[in-house]
Amino acid sequence: MGVRRKMALRFDLIIFTILLFASPVLSDLILSKVDRRFINEKLKNGEDFNFHLAIPCLQIDLTSQIVENEGSEPVSEVLLAFPDLQVKDLALLKASPHEGKGKVKSLSASLPVENVKPNGMPAALTFYAVKLPKALGKGDSYTFDVLAVFAHALRPFPEKITQADIQLVVFQESAFYLTPYVVKVQSLSVKLPESRIESYTKLENTKIHGSEIKYGPYENLPSFSYSPIVVHFESNQPFAVAQEVVREIEISHWGNVQVTEHYKLVHGGAQNKGEFSRLDYQARPTIRGASAFKYLIAKMPPRVHSVYYRDEIGNISTSNLWGDSKKTELLIEPRYPLFGGWRTAFTIGYGLPLKDFLFELEGNRFLNITFGSPMNELVIDNLIVKVVLPEGSGDISVSAPFPVNQWEETKLSHLDLTGRPVVVLQKTNVVPEHNQFFQVYYKFSKLSMLREPFMLIFGFFSLFVAGIVYMHVDMSISKSSAAYLARLQWDEVQAAIQQVENVINRCLTTHDKLEASLRDLSRTGDVQACKAARKAADGLLKELSKELKLVLSFLQSSSAASQILPKVEELVAKEKDLQEKVMAKHSTVVDCYEKKTGIRDSENRVAAQQQKITALRQEVENLLELIDEI
């Protein structure tokens, strides 16, 4: 795929000592001293600019310049010039007042920079104007630093290497500082990561100090001086480039900010050609696979939870998470080591506590969260940040520390009716310096939070109501169809049979009572009580038989009951039989007691009766059960 220019070249510190000499064409500015430093190695925290520059593949251009006004007009702007070719890879351009080395430069102290198109300038250049804090009068001078970071400025050369080869890269620049102003003194130093330098352009005044190449100082350069230099050096640092990163930040007012990040990663260094031998890689990973990259570290906020790391075919098990109260670090390894030109894609996701990122301000809420990816060693070609706000948010506005493309979408998710508003921010050439906080302001009423629970409650409620209604409503279509009528009839018959059963059961209970009275009699010998019980039972049974007659006549008239009728009739007959037998037994026993005849004698007689009763009772119960089942 041709030259993959995926290294991010960072020009940090162009020390623009813009001497303000009278330049007749422009204003009368002169750059009195320009110190340029190209840095292509890991910078430690706090060194030079206070950025967490741990990216091996970025080249940093730091220029510090002193501007002097030699003209009479006060001047408040200084122009910076870049060739158009470079501008398309320009990731970051920043100017700040020079405060000496090692000093911390806060972001607020930076000078405003804007794109301008001054007249009469060469066409292939793009200009940026730095606004000075106060206009320079005649003879005044001002020192400031410019930081420019370029992605894709380093090129691997050769473009294809084998697994065993070391990776060489080429860096091209101009030895002279490209500026519309006259430069009095200019020096350039190029700092390289490793001491091995394949070749470099030798000009006059070129010195090499270990891994640092110094050009200059050159004096009294006219405006737009240009002298190309090429440095070819070894860099086994892997070029991790994300072609596209989509970050989705979803806010839930129930206490969570869910971040999901989709990465499409590629190793932007020299492409691997020929065999990949796992054996060589495992045996001598530093030699055979020096330029392969093995892992990335994501620095995430503290109290992050539910972290996952997966791709489209499942979880990726090679990751490690640790953290303390200040930060959480996630080390992720791709499924396979990435050699030059190899690609991979994955997704990481994590939840953050809402209270750390969402604040309220004068009735507005705002989300305050970092813009870039948590991975520090990554250059992102195209970053899309989507902020998904809760359903019902309004008055949305975004404040970002640098220009981004911005539009809005809606997203339908769990229990949404109208969809959630989504703010989409898009930026190309993102480097870790862009990992700054941005804010999304919106209005959201607390009552809207209750909408979803209420929807659920209502949903379940109506489900149950529907169930109840279904159970109690007659759903049949035709009220006159034969089947429907038959069913109605059948229902009636069933009710009648139920009644019959009830009556029989009550009869049986009455029999039991009689039996009980007999037992009492045998215990106490109280004949009168027994007789009373008998009387009561008689009355009850009479009533019951009346009831039974009514129901039976109904059953006989009903055609639907024809199947079951014989059984019912049998049941009734058996019951009557049983009743008689019980009565007979009762009278026998009572007679015996009254006449005081031998109790032994009576027991013999009763035993015969008792057996019949038991058998009958059994039959009645069987019948009851049978009918029950029908």
């Binding site: 990949f276 690609r343 339908l412 949404d416 059961n505 089942e629």
Partner: protein, 782 residues
């Protein structure tokens, strides 16, 4: 008023019982679902194994392109260069089900991914299946047996093995469809309702959509109908249960593209039509019998039988001639291997090579159904007491499925529900007997009755009398169950005797009650057995059947070690090769490669074209140059082999290699199995034959393997490899995974022609088209 109260309480208790069984069923569903989540918890939410990946891919296509594109889908990413008509060759039930669930959820704004839906389809349907089992068993033997059977089915290991979360395979849905079809058949048989008959045909249609195993239904139900007719149980209900099923079911089945006219043309469906005719004849006979006097009827019978026999013989002769004229007798290979277990190993090595088509071993029965194996006979006995239409059906079901499960491991899955139903019946009956005995004995011991029940005069009256004395409400509670039990008692007593061979006096059936101690011990033993079953099932679900097989784990002294090599290789292929590159591998990995790596494969797990598979097998068994030619003629760019020698992964390609030789040799006779065997033994050490040591599979597996430890010790075969140092001339290694389990090679481009050699290689390397025809002699591809 007492009676009214009692009746009220009865209905209340009835309602209470319903609510109780509803909640028990709900819990059974939850159990069935959650016991299958071990794979998600222990591993991850991922599709398992091989076939599920294909189903997953089809589902993705369906959700993306819609149903009409799905029916017309011609898949050009597999079986290159032939392609495969997916819409017409796949059982669409599972895919459509999951697709519908996904669509429903998404239209309700629940944005679940297709993968999530696919992963959880199987557990959801196993909950459905256990509910269906409840319904079926309830129709056969009542609600108690139903609940027991449902609980047993919810966790039977055999079914778990095919339906853990992520096991997105046809069987997951098909078992539910199978049981619900049987339930509706029994329901129709019991009620004679045309409504259920129609539902039955629809359930059958769903089963046909889901799984090729539907032929089991369409043979079992006719068998049962025939059984009913033979035993004189013909009724109009039987007619309603069967005739609509055949007519509607066949029409519906023919709508499924993969079945189509097979529904009337193949022998698998023949039995259903034959029985359909017999049923009508019998129905006619019964009708005529009804309208004729007995004497007339006798005359008519002799007349019809003599004429009918002649006609029948003629028809059968024609049919036999027709069937016999086709080489496979109208049966498909898989069905034939069911009828004749030795058929596949004799004629179709590709069916025999699949491990799940082997007959099971005895331990696998114990593993898969555990204690159910002992309960099944008791259940069968219970089904004969008394024998009803429904219980004869389940007896027939278990007898046939036992046979089928004995032929193929895979069909253990059909056997499992039958075993659960039988065991459910057995358990619930046994519990019934024991608890009832205990209850009666208890009452007797408490000694309320003054009518000293020593002679057991009124075991049924006693509790009632006692209850009357104690309390009204108590009476109702005691009385009712005892009455309920009575019917069962009759059946149980004999069964209990048969089972326990109790030496109790057999005075009167319904009064037969086991002694207290025996019942308590029996009950405890049953509970203990149930507990053992549960423990075993949980163990099986957690340990044995949850591994997704694309991720392997092992426990070492350092802790858990994960082998994720397959996905590493597939991810590499997906991201680092061209979209249209063709990848050759043994067919096992075809589905995974198309689904996970999204690359075109030559052969895959749908083994529809034996010749094509044989071509790949031949290439793998050929020396490097011949293999290169075969692969090159197939446009292959990468060759993928699975190699377990470094970490000891036993199911790698070297162990499968003999099947490649056999299948390749079956089509291309120049590959001969004996060439790869030394004295009938398969070995890869220094004793191995030169053919073996020079074949492509050997070389790709062991390329530079010796450099890992200096000796080349293969941990799977437990031996040093035979040929240690060699170079590849036509292939180059492009990727090997972390544990060397997957190795991917690239075909080197053909060399520029040198003038002197032009003549020699002319036929081979001119244009691709002439290459193919020119190399016909050497190249088995064509």
């Amino acid at each position: 008023m007492a009676a009214a109260a009692k009746a009220g309480e009865a209905t209340l208790r009835h309602a209470f019982g319903n609510v109780l069984s509803f909640f028990i069923l709900l819990l059974i569903g939850v159990l069935a679902f959650s016991i299958r989540l071990f794979s998600v918890i222990k591993y991850e939410s991922v599709i398992h194994e091989f076939d599920p990946y294909f189903n997953y891919r089809v589902t993705q296509f369906l959700t993306k392109n819609g149903i009409y594109d799905f029916w017309n889908w011609f898949d050009d990413r597999t079986w290159y260069p032939l392609g495969r008509v997916i819409g017409g060759t796949v059982y669409p039930g599972l895919t459509l089900t999951a697709g519908t669930i996904w669509w429903l959820l998404n239209s309700l704004n629940i944005p679940l991914s297709v993968e999530t839906v696919c992963v959880f389809t199987a557990p959801i349907f196993s909950a459905f299946a256990s509910w269906a089992t409840y319904l079926l068993t309830k129709e056969v033997k009542g609600a108690g047996a139903g609940l027991t059977a449902a609980a047993l089915l919810a966790m039977v290991p055999s079914y778990i093995s095919r339906s853990v979360a992520g096991s997105y395979d046809n069987e997951a849905v098909a078992i539910f469809a199978l049981i619900i079809t049987f339930y509706l058949y029994i329901k129709t048989l019991n009620t004679g309702s045309l409504f259920y008959a129609t539902l039955n045909a629809i359930a059958y249609f769903y089963m046909v959509c889901s799984w090729g195993g539907y032929t089991f239904i369409i043979n079992l139900i006719p068998m049962h109908v025939l059984l009913c007719i033979v035993t004189g149980r013909y009724s109009s209900r039987l007619y309603i249960a069967y005739a609509p099923l055949v007519v509607l079911g066949t029409l519906l089945a023919a709508l499924v593209p993969v079945v189509g006219f097979n529904a009337v043309m193949t022998s698998e469906h023949f039995a259903s039509f034959l029985v359909f005719i017999i049923l009508h004849v019998v129905a006619l006979v019964y009708y005529i019998k009804g309208i004729l006097s007995p004497k007339m009827f006798k005359v008519a019978v002799t007349l019809v039988v003599s004429v009918g026999l002649v006609v029948c013989c003629a028809v059968i002769a024609i049919l036999v001639a027709l069937v016999a004229s086709s080489p496979t007798k109208g049966w498909s290979g898989r069905s034939l291997s069911l009828l004749d277990p030795t058929y596949a190993s004799k004629y179709i090595p590709i069916i025999a090579s699949v491990s799940e088509h082997q007959p099971p071993t005895w331990p696998s029965y114990f593993m898969d159904i555990n204690v159910l194996a002992f309960l099944v006979p008791a259940g069968i006995i219970a089904c004969f007491l008394p024998l009803s239409d429904a219980s004869s059906f389940v007896v027939l079901y278990i007898v046939t499925s036992v046979y089928f499960s004995g032929v193929m491991v895979r069909l253990m899955l059909v056997f499992a529900p039958a075993a659960c139903i039988m065991s459910g019946i057995a358990l619930s009956q046994a519990f019934d007997v024991f608890t009832r005995s205990i209850k009666f004995q208890l009452l007797r011991i408490l000694g309320f009755s003054e009518a000293d029940a020593g002679d057991g005069s009124s075991a049924n009256v006693v509790p009632e009398n006692d209850a009357v004395k104690v309390d009204k409400s108590e009476e109702t509670i005691k009385e009712r169950p005892s009455r309920k039990n009575k019917k069962k008692e009759k059946e149980q007593m004999e069964k209990a005797q048969a089972e326990k061979t109790s030496a109790k006096s057999k005075t009167e059936k319904r009064l037969l009650v086991l002694p207290m101690e025996l019942s308590v011990i029996g009950l405890l033993l049953l509970v203990f057995m149930g507990a053992f079953y549960v423990v075993h099932c949980v163990w099986a679900a957690a340990e044995a059947y949850s591994a997704p097989s694309i991720v392997l784990t092992s426990y070492t002294h350092e802790g858990l070690h994960v082998f994720d090599d397959f996905r590493e290789a597939y991810a590499w292929l997906r991201h680092n090769t061209e979209v249209d590159d063709k990848v050759a591998s043994w067919w096992d990995y075809g589905y995974q490669t198309t689904a996970m790596a999204n690359r075109t494969v030559i052969v895959d797990n749908n083994t529809w074209n034996n010749t094509h598979i044989a071509t790949v097998g031949t290439a793998m068994s050929s020396p490097e140059k011949a293999a290169w030619e075969i692969f090159n003629s197939l446009d292959v760019k990468y060759v993928l082999v699975v190699f377990g020698g470094l970490v000891g992964y036993p199911s790698d390609d070297i162990n499968k290699f003999l099947w490649m030789v056999r299948i390749g040799g079956g089509v291309f006779p120049h590959i001969k199995e004996p060439d790869y065997l030394r004295d009938g033994q398969y070995r890869i050490d220094s004793q191995a034959t030169p053919t073996m040591l020079n074949c492509l599979m050997y070389k790709l597996s062991y390329y530079r393997f010796v450099e890992t430890d200096g000796k080349g010790f293969d941990r799977v075969r437990r031996t040093e490899i035979g040929k240690k140092y060699f170079k590849l001339t036509h292939f180059e290694e492009v990727f090997t995974t972390h544990h060397w389990m997957v190795r991917i090679y690239k075909l080197k481009p053909s060399k520029n022609r040198i003038r002197g050699k032009m003549k020699k290689s002319k036929s081979r390397t001119s244009t691709p088209s002439s290459k193919r025809s020119g190399s016909r002699k050497k190249n088995p591809w064509q």
